[in-house]
């Protein structure tokens, strides 16, 4: 449940669409922690020693939290959103070619413009290009497995890659991660910072994944599953999946008292 109530009834609330107040510089909506996995989730064993046990201290957002780093096209290179080309040495990587696209929105439904989205993944065989990954599936010499993009004015992002494979990991003896792509998103303020994962529609490993099932809310879990989007596919080239990401909304400062000079 989102418990944040507006201070005054706004006429735009009478419309069925999400509320779109003017760009606010108030605090972010209180985080609804029932939409997230708890820190201590014993079925995901690594969380046991790494989860705080004291209550979090709730802070009204100050300027330290409503601001955050600003990125621009100067931070990126031209191939950063093309994982088929950005590490290619002598050909294309092996695997199903896919396009991933979507929007970064906030909880009011407004697109989050010019925000940095970073993504990383295993190759088509489920192997990561990482010095600590020892899975027996081979490294693909033409695949790095990471990229990044800035959203446009409407919050849209897209990239091209190959579909990652599932891979085993040490939790139970026979635990496998469903195919997934990791996402890191910034938003406009540091309190919106989020790391999540996109999963693929129809993957039979989804309901038995010890990490995914740390999410207590069924709808919140399903919102991490990207549907196949045939309309966005490139005929005779790539299938497409659509993945929208929602960051916390921000309050408008309609009637807040301010001290002079601020």
């Amino acid at each position: 449940m989102n418990v944040q109530a507006p201070a005054l009834r706004d006429p735009r609330l009478d419309r069925p669409e999400p509320l779109t107040p003017p760009l606010g510089d108030g605090g972010f909506f209180q985080r609804d922690r029932s939409m997230h996995p708890p820190a201590h989730a014993p079925g995901y064993k690594s969380s046991v020693l790494r989860s705080p046990r004291q209550a979090l201290l709730s802070l009204e957002n100050s300027v330290s939290e409503i601001t955050g780093p600003v990125f621009g096209h100067n931070d990126l290179g031209p191939l950063d959103n093309d994982l088929i080309r950005n590490y290619a040495k002598d050909g294309d990587p092996v695997g199903e070619r896919i396009i991933v696209h979507g929007r970064v929105l906030d909880e009011t439904g407004r697109g989050v413009p010019n925000t940095l989205v970073e993504f990383w993944q295993a190759n088509a065989g489920g192997r990561y290009r990482h010095r600590k990954d020892t899975y027996l599936a081979p490294i693909d010499p033409n695949f790095g497995g990471c990229g990044r993009a800035l959203t446009d004015d409407t919050g849209q992002y897209y990239f091209r890659t190959v579909k990652p494979g599932p891979y085993p990991w040490r939790n139970y003896v026979n635990s496998w991660r469903p195919a997934h792509i990791h996402f890191s998103v910034f938003g406009s303020g540091f309190a919106q910072r989020l790391i999540t994962r996109m999963y693929f529609e129809g993957d039979p490993l989804i309901p038995v994944c010890p990490i995914l099932t740390t999410i207590p809310d069924k709808d919140a879990l399903e919102r991490l599953v990207a549907p196949l989007d045939l309309n966005a596919s490139a005929p005779f080239d790539s299938l497409a999946y659509r993945f929208d990401i929602v960051l916390r909304g921000q309050r408008s400062t309609y009637f807040e008292n301010r001290t002079a000079g601020n």
């Binding site: 979090l56 780093p69 990561y128 010095r131 990791h182 406009s188 309190a191």
Partner: protein, 208 residues
């Protein structure tokens, strides 16, 4: 039934996992892919302010340093101004300071370091003066949703004693978990911190 509000819900967090370096610090994963990389060095030669090294570890419930953790920091410039349009203060901006950096812990020792400047005190929009501090965000395998904490500075005793956030921390004995200790080493100023995820010295984490 009242009219529906129709807010969207925030996307669920998922752990960054053990291979977070691939996407965020590929050189640590063991390869070179981007022309431009983000790093733990926040300063350029022209940044204003006192150069400091921040260094510390994140410790799990068994007392062992995390060796696969990633930290990001966000801070104001030397005069307390954030490099962001929502900072409406009159303090001078510094174009040579973004105020953000990221670092992975050393795979052997767990040590995390940043090269930055000491931020100034911050006047927030309610007019309160906040002691100089750095926001810290922590992700790793086993951390299901990023942890938010802050670092304050041991040599700012008067400002810390008046800080509105530190004063919210009860019992007061826990405030020291947010204070980085100043030392000097070979002419360099170093602030050291320990972030304890559990135990009697558990660090104060914020729901921001």
């Amino acid at each position: 039934m009242p009219q529906p509000l129709n807010y969207l819900k925030e996307t669920a967090s998922q752990t960054a996992g053990p291979y977070v370096h691939i996407g965020l610090i590929p050189a640590m994963a063991g390869f070179d892919i981007f022309e431009k990389n983000f790093s733990n060095v926040l300063v350029t030669p022209n940044t204003q302010g006192e150069r400091i090294t921040l260094e510390g570890k994140v410790i799990d419930g068994s007392g062992t340093p995390l060796r696969d953790v990633l930290l990001e920091i966000w801070q104001a410039n030397a005069v307390g101004r954030y490099n962001h349009p929502a900072d409406r203060s009159t303090s001078a901006p510094d174009e040579e300071f973004r105020g953000w950096g990221r670092a992975g812990s050393d795979f052997e020792s767990g040590l995390v370091t940043f090269e930055t400047i000491k931020p100034g005190a911050i006047i927030d929009k309610t007019g309160r003066k906040n002691a100089p501090h750095i926001d810290v965000w922590i992700v790793a395998r086993g951390i299901n949703i990023g942890l938010n904490t802050r670092l304050y500075f041991s040599d700012q005793e008067a400002a810390n004693a008046a800080d509105p956030v530190l004063n919210l921390v009860e019992p007061a004995v826990r405030r020291k978990t947010l204070i980085a200790k100043r030392t000097e080493r070979a002419g360099k100023v170093v602030y050291s911190f320990t972030i304890n995820l559990q135990g009697p010295e558990e660090t104060v984490f914020f729901d921001v």
